[in-house]
Amino acid sequence: MPRDGAKIYHRPFPDVVPDTTVESTVYNGFVADVEADLNAPRPITAGGTAAITATEALVNLGGQHSAIIVTNYDSHVWLPGSFYSAAGATGAPVAGHAFAGIIYSSDPIAYPPANLNLIVEARDQNDTTVPGRLYVREKKAGVWGAWVEQLGGFTEADARYVNVAGDTMTGALTLTGVNNISYNGTHAGYFYGSPVEASRFYVGSLGDVWHVYHNTLGSRLSVDGVTGIVTLSAGAAVPTATLGLATTAVANTAYVENRASAYGEYFASLRVAKSGDTMTGALTVNGVITGQSALVVAGHATLGNGTVNGGVLYMNATNSHYIQSSGGVLNYNGQTVYHTGNLAFPASVTDIRFVYAGDWYYTAAGIEEPYGGHACVTGGWTRNNYLRHRYCQMLINGAWANANVA
């Protein structure tokens, strides 16, 4: 061999003595050694590539390939460098698309390559929205992962992610981490939303400790998520202070209980609902009910329900005038209605009148009712056989009706 293990060429024979004949053995051996060296791959240390092929030489020199044609992404023997594949290559990121890309390798340089740890970047040459959309695939310890599509351009990024300069989210934002919100501004942050119950803010564990939200009863601050009690401070020096309905009184402890729901329900239970309700206690009106229709009962009004004689309807301030049913008889001031003194008539009668019917000329003795009996004689005795007649009219429902004959 003309070269040692370090690829150093050594002369096969020592120098011959000057001005002497060279032995054939030495000459032939030298020529054969040179021939062998010239036909063997020249080592890199001697300015060669130590390879018998271009690919091997490229590998030996640590260079990267270019324009590698890939027809099967799964079985291709990858060498670092650039590649491309025509549409239809097996295992491409998008079937039917042509790709061009770069292959990275962290394997030691070897030929043939080990192909155990690779990263393949392939850019789609047929994507219609993002030019050269990037797909990445990684091989770790000899196992391929799946192609992963990479985000393409600002437009696509704006459609996917919230801008730090301000943006509007159309979907829900779920924060699962701890201490995942911090706000260092001068104002407190707030949440709002619709419908009711949509905005809710917890401090601490979900549904416990601090709990601020808005529901159908209005805004509520609930420090204790269970009882809704807010404790302001505790200690003997602070007097007890209660706001709202305190269900738990703690001596020498100032606390605010904000229970909007219980508060509203409690006061609602004290009042008669407009939509209809049942009172269990008495209704006392100390003021004056004014207006012609101030008190209207569409249905029946019952006085003294459950009693034998019924209730009493008082009609003056001293209760001296009243109407009452007694044993089935309607009483006024404790006596039957038709009792002397019960009925006070007006100074003049305004709902009964006698209107003029006519003057009838009677020609003979006898009985006549020229007006059908509906008019009566109201005049004095006849003068020249005339008698004056009048009708009796009653004012009923705002109109005058004529009295009938009986």
């Binding site: 003057d359 509906h374 429902n397």
Partner: protein
């Protein structure tokens, strides 16, 4: 003056009471078409508070028209005018003609002008009333009756 004849009115008993009055009041209807008198002069509606009320119909409540009723008196063989009023509710036209006079420019007391005069429903005219027949002395009437009885007896005998 223009005279509008509202027809002759007669008593009747309605099958059911009107919405205004109970059944026991006196009801009248027009002889020609059965029109109820109360429905003719009144209407039912509601006031501003939604309460039911009864008002007089406009066409009979004109302040300038005079409403009259006239009853037929055999003594004069004519319709003698009784009430002559502006307020139609004061009429009770049983067995009487009701007519309305527009354009009356007489005295403020139309009763004085129309009362006791004759109403001609055919000619829609108002005339003065003829003098009443002289009252018959009861003794003369008795004598006439006796003569009539004797004449009847004589007639029987003649036929006899």
């Amino acid at each position: 003056m223009k005279i509008i004849n509202h027809g002759r009115w007669v008593p009747y008993k309605p099958s059911k009471a009107s919405g205004i009055f109970p059944a026991w009041v006196s009801y009248f209807r027009r002889e020609s078409d059965g029109q109820d008198w109360y429905d003719y002069i009144y209407r039912e509606d509601t006031d501003d508070n939604g309460r039911r009320r009864v008002t007089v119909r406009d066409f009979l409540s004109s302040a300038v028209s005079i409403k009259c009723a006239a009853i037929f008196q055999p003594a004069f063989s004519a319709y003698i005018i009784g009430p002559a009023v502006a307020d139609v509710t004061k009429l009770c036209p049983i067995n009487q003609h009701v007519f309305e006079v527009t354009g009356y420019t007489g005295s403020d007391n139309p009763q004085e002008y129309f009362g006791g005069r004759v109403f001609d429903p055919a000619a829609l005219a108002i005339r003065d009333r003829p003098p009443p027949p002289q009252p018959i002395d009861p003794e003369i009437a008795e004598l006439k009756k006796t003569i009539e009885n004797m004449q009847a007896e004589i007639a029987k005998l003649v036929r006899g």
